[in-house]
C-alpha cells in the first residue's frame, strides 16, 4: 500500500502512522457523557470507504485525511487534514475560523 502525500508524492506505507477514524469530532467540554463515550470509544468501522487520519512522520510531518476502501486497501482520496478542517469550519454548518 502506498499513499500519495499532497506535499511529497507517492510514498511507502512505512513512512506513515495511522491514527484512526477521521469523522469523529471532539465534543464541547460541557457535552453529555454519552457524547464523550461516543467520541472516545464508539466507531462506525465501515466495510468499504473509510475516512481516516494518517501522519506522515518520516516525510513532511503533515496530518492527512485519507479516504480508503477497507475491503481492497484502494486509496480513493488524500487531503491535508488542515485543509479539511478549515473547509469544515467555513461551511454553512461550521462555526467559522477561530471560533
Amino acid at each position: 500500500m502506498r499513499l500519495t502525500c499532497p506535499f511529497c508524492g507517492s510514498r511507502g506505507l512505512e513512512e506513515f502512522t495511522y491514527r484512526g477514524d477521521a469523522t469523529v469530532r471532539r465534543p464541547s467540554a460541557d457535552a453529555s457523557q454519552e457524547a464523550w463515550v461516543d467520541y472516545v470509544y464508539l466507531r462506525d468501522n465501515p466495510c468499504g470507504p473509510h475516512r481516516e487520519l494518517w501522519y506522515h512522520g518520516a516525510g513532511c510531518r503533515s496530518w492527512l485525511v485519507v479516504t480508503r476502501d477497507t475491503r481492497t486497501h484502494q486509496i480513493l482520496d488524500v487531503r491535508n487534514a488542515r485543509d479539511v478542517m478549515l473547509a469544515e469550519r467555513m461551511s454553512p454548518e461550521g462555526k467559522g475560523e477561530g471560533s
Binding site: 512505512e14 484512526g20 477514524d21 462506525d44 468501522n45 477497507t70
Partner: protein, 419 residues
C-alpha cells in the same frame, strides 16, 4: 454400519475394512424455520458456544449459521498458541478457565485437537521488563495458573540457539508458562462442529446473515441468504465482522477491524520445542508437528476487512525473527495470510447482552481469540442460557467503557491498533 466414535478400536475396525464406514464429521444441515438459539458465526467461538450450550446447559433447537465454511475464518488463520499469562483480574481467571478446558478438550469432544503443552516462553531483555514479568508471574500464580521465571542460563539451556548475547537486545531471562503451548487450530473447529452436531446442533454453512428482525424492541430472528430464521435468542460471534452485524441492530461498537498477518515456513526437522516470544519487538514463533515454523507479529495497524496485509509488517516481523534467532535467516517462507481482528478499545473482549432484547454479543477478541475459544464458548453459552454472566466473564461487559471500567492489559488507552 457407520462409525461414530473415534477410538483405537474404531481405528482398527475401519483399518480392517478399508475405511469405508467413516461418516462425515457433521451433517450439512438445512435451516429450519425457527430455533431456540441461533449463533451467528461458525468460527471457533460460535461452535464452542453451540457445543457447551447443548452439552452443559441443556440447550435444545440450536443452530450455528456461517457465511462461509467451517474453519475458513480466524480459527483457521491464527498461530495456534494457547496460554493464560495475563495480568489483570478481569482477564486472568477467564483465560485460566480456558486453559483448563483446553487440557480436557480432546476427551470432552472425542477429537484429536493435538493439544500440546510444550510451554510458552516470554523473553525479557532488561530490568524493567524483568520486574514486569515477575509481577505478571505472581498474578498468574495467585489466580491458579503456573509461571516460572527463568534466568539467562536457564533460557540458554532450554533454547540454546537464541541470540542471547546480542549487543542491542541481550536476553536476560524469560517467564515460562509450561502449561501453555499449541493446539491444532482447524481441528478445534472441526472437533467442536462434530461434537455439537452429535448433540443435535444444526450447522448451516454458506448462510450469511443479512438483517435482523426486531419486533417491539425484541430480536425475533435473522434474515439470511437462505431465508428468514426465527430465534428466541440470537448470539453474535462474528469476530472481525462484529461491527457490520451489530449495525444491523442499529448498534455501534467500541471496535475497529484490523488485519493481522501470520506466516509458515517450509518444513524443517524439529528444533523449536516450545513457543518463544521476543521481548524487544513483536515476534512469536513455534514449530508445527509438520515441521513448519509458525510465526507472527503485530497487526498492520489500519482498519481493514481485506484478509491480506502489507509489506512493512512482514519486514518488521522478519527483522524480529532475525534479532531473536539468526539461524532461521535462510529458511524460506512457504505461505502467509491475513485475518480480520475485532480490535476493541481496551484490548479486552465483550461477552454481554446488547440493548436489544434477545440479542447477545461475543466480540472484541483482538488478536488473542484462539486461546480463548473454549472459555468464550462456555461463558457465552452461560449467558445465553441463563441471562447472567459466567463468574469468570463478569468484567466483559459492553457498558464498561461508559463506566470507566476498562480492562487495558497493555495500558494503551482507547487506540485499538496499539493493543
Amino acid at each position: 454400519m457407520q462409525t461414530n466414535r473415534y477410538s483405537l478400536f474404531s481405528l482398527l475396525w475401519e483399518a480392517c475394512r478399508g475405511n469405508t464406514g467413516w461418516k462425515p464429521a457433521w451433517r450439512k444441515a438445512e435451516p429450519a424455520s425457527a430455533y431456540d438459539f441461533v449463533i451467528v458465526g461458525g468460527g471457533g467461538h460460535g461452535l464452542a458456544t453451540a457445543y457447551y450450550l447443548a452439552r452443559r446447559y441443556g440447550g435444545k433447537r440450536i443452530a450455528v449459521v456461517e457465511k462461509g465454511w467451517i474453519g475458513g475464518g480466524n480459527v483457521g488463520r491464527n498461530t495456534t498458541i494457547v496460554r493464560s499469562n495475563y495480568l489483570l483480574h478481569g482477564n486472568e481467571p477467564f483465560y485460566e478457565c480456558s486453559m483448563k478446558l483446553w487440557e480436557g478438550l480432546e476427551q470432552d469432544i472425542n477429537y484429536n485437537a493435538m493439544v500440546s503443552q510444550r510451554g510458552v516462553l516470554n523473553l525479557f531483555h532488561n530490568d524493567a521488563q524483568k520486574a514486569a514479568y515477575i509481577r505478571r508471574g505472581n498474578s498468574m500464580i495467585l489466580h491458579g495458573a503456573d509461571a516460572v521465571l527463568l534466568d539467562q542460563d536457564a533460557v540458554r539451556a532450554k533454547v540454546p540457539f537464541l541470540n542471547v548475547d546480542d549487543a542491542r537486545f541481550p536476553i536476560k531471562g524469560g517467564l515460562l508458562q509450561q502449561r501453555g503451548g499449541t493446539v491444532r487450530h482447524d481441528a478445534v473447529a472441526w472437533g467442536y462442529a462434530r461434537a455439537a452436531d452429535r448433540l443435535g446442533v444444526d450447522i448451516i454453512e454458506n448462510c450469511e446473515m443479512t438483517g435482523l428482525r426486531i419486533e417491539q424492541g425484541r430480536a425475533v430472528g435473522i434474515e439470511t441468504t437462505r431465508g428468514f430464521i426465527g430465534a428466541r435468542k440470537i448470539g453474535l460471534a462474528c469476530a472481525g465482522n462484529s461491527s457490520r452485524v451489530a449495525a444491523m441492530a442499529g448498534l455501534r461498537l467500541p471496535i475497529e477491524s484490523h488485519v493481522l498477518q501470520a506466516f509458515v515456513s517450509e518444513g524443517l526437522k524439529p528444533f523449536i520445542d516450545c513457543v518463544v516470544t521476543f521481548g524487544a519487538g513483536h515476534f512469536y514463533i513455534s514449530q508445527s508437528d509438520k515441521g513448519g515454523l509458525v510465526f507472527g507479529g503485530d497487526i498492520d495497524g489500519y482498519n481493514s476487512y481485506a484478509q491480506r496485509g502489507n509489506m512493512p509488517v512482514i519486514e518488521d516481523v522478519c527483522e524480529g525473527g532475525m534479532a531473536l534467532m539468526p539461524r532461521i535467516g535462510r529458511v524460506r517462507l512457504l505461505r502467509h495470510w491475513g485475518g480480520i481482528m475485532d480490535m476493541s478499545m481496551d484490548g479486552s473482549p465483550i461477552i454481554d447482552r446488547t440493548p436489544v432484547d434477545g440479542l447477545y454479543l461475543n466480540a472484541g477478541w483482538c488478536y488473542g481469540g484462539f486461546k480463548a475459544t473454549p472459555a468464550s464458548g462456555l461463558c457465552f453459552a452461560h449467558l445465553l442460557a441463563r441471562d447472567e454472566p459466567h463468574p469468570v466473564a463478569v468484567a466483559y461487559r459492553l457498558d464498561r467503557f461508559a463506566r470507566g471500567a476498562v480492562i487495558d492489559e497493555k495500558g494503551m488507552g482507547a487506540q485499538p491498533n496499539l493493543h
